[in-house]
Symmetry: C2
Subunit: 269 residues, 2 copies
């Protein structure tokens, strides 16, 4: 038994990394649907079917709790899965709720003194596909009334990270922050709405300045999961962590090792 973490590709490894740091004794099974990635270009029905198939595979691997560490799947499939598909003894959680809780009412951080987070002008940095989907904007309008969101589609950042050109990635981050500031000069907070962006969190913070609070999904999911497991310790599980892929395990493992800069071995899902 373990916690399942699902992503269409490797971006969700930043979420895995954050939760493993927060919960070093909890085993995880990571599943990358590499054979069908990227999801951003698929229809909602397609994404629903693929996400259900992947989550079913994680249930089968012994996971009772699965985190969708994928913005596209969280936006396109999670609500429908929770309403019509997830069995009563299982849980599937997405990446939006921890973020919205953190931005609106939840007290932030277990190591810092509790304080209210009070944001009005929010900058959203995400991929062009995520921005075009309007998923964040919809969730925020639904759950965080009165928050003004300006989205910046950060084309090129994921590609630069995946190519390992961090100098280019940082230059692109600076240009996108400049572009955001031309639309919203003084944001209170910034959401890094892409699972790749935790790798550039310092660069976003530096470009935005210290007065802007930067919310990274990976850390927020780790905190939410830690809270959840305090209330539901039976979900935590025991055993070894594992990495599964629907693609070629050698290729995916090589790319994952380069991405997270530690050795990761994938098996066929």
């Amino acid at each position: 038994m373990a916690i399942g973490i699902f992503d269409s590709g490797l971006g969700g490894l930043t979420v895995l990394d954050a939760v493993q740091k927060r919960l070093p004794d909890v085993p995880f099974v990571y599943l990358a649907d590499s054979a069908h990635a990227p999801y951003g270009v698929r229809t909602a029905d397609d994404i629903f079917e693929l996400t259900c198939a992947a989550v079913a595979r994680l249930f089968e691997a012994g996971c009772s709790l699965v985190i969708l560490a994928c913005n596209t799947a969280s936006a396109a499939a999670l609500r429908r899965m929770q309403e019509s598909w997830v069995p009563p003894d299982k849980r599937v959680l997405g990446v939006f709720v921890p973020l919205i809780e953190a931005m609106t009412e939840r007290q932030w951080g277990d190591n810092s003194p509790p304080r209210e987070v009070n944001v009005k002008h929010v900058a959203l940095f995400a991929t062009p596909a995520t921005v075009a989907s309007r998923a964040f904007q919809r969730e925020l309008a639904f759950r965080a009334i009165g928050v003004d969101v300006e989205a910046q589609a950060c084309g090129g950042v994921v590609d630069a990270i995946e190519e390992g050109d961090m100098i280019l990635a940082e230059a692109l981050v600076r240009s996108h922050v400049d572009a955001l500031r031309r639309k919203m000069p003084t944001p209170d907070a910034a959401i890094l709405g892409c699972t790749h962006y935790p790798l550039m969190q310092q660069q976003f913070q530096k470009a935005l300045g210290d007065e802007v609070r930067v919310f990274s999904q990976a850390n927020l999911v780790a905190e939410s999961l830690a809270d959840y497991l305090v209330r539901h310790p039976e979900m935590a599980g025991f055993g070894e962590s594992a990495f599964l892929t629907t693609g070629d395990p050698h290729r995916v493992g090589d790319r994952a090792t380069q991405f997270l800069r530690r050795q990761i071995t994938f098996q066929s899902a």
Copy 2:
């Protein structure tokens, strides 16, 4: 009768613009397969089927000569179409051959004194999908032996152009040129391997410096077409130009008008 210009989306309008400037008396029919764009994420078989359907529509509209103003279709479908599908009385031409001719043996430009183009170190700027397809690199290796090509995947530039944020687009171009120079410090020539990039040609030239010869597909296709029509004047046609789309003509027309900064009216294909 007119010359057909096909693209999956609106990028090919830069090719249309260049050929209309070069050949103001020739009528064109532009067809955007907006309903199925972008092609970059599709399989080769899919792209072949869609491109044949679109070109058949242009034949039906009276075009005997069709230009694939689409790197993805040219790379994935053109050779197979020419070998097995194009009727003997029709011609389908792509965007690679004019470029390769210009880079290797053809004398450049009708207005400048003839001279040999002699390039060894070539920088290729294209979208991440085009770079990943290796289509240019394959065509160049096949036709231009001894030319050393370094590709830079320019993530974000197309998105910035489509959003109309030219300040951001220019900043991204500079960052991508810097990234290319870290891999190839002194290119002789640069290929703008994306139909959107003619809109940023000055910015590429400025970032690269005057000593680098910048090849833009739109201008090369216009020159090649002008040469071709001198040899085959019966292909030029007469009549009105028209713009067709498989998508919503109003939406596509609005975007095209914004893209080219002149009024363009689309009809249903």
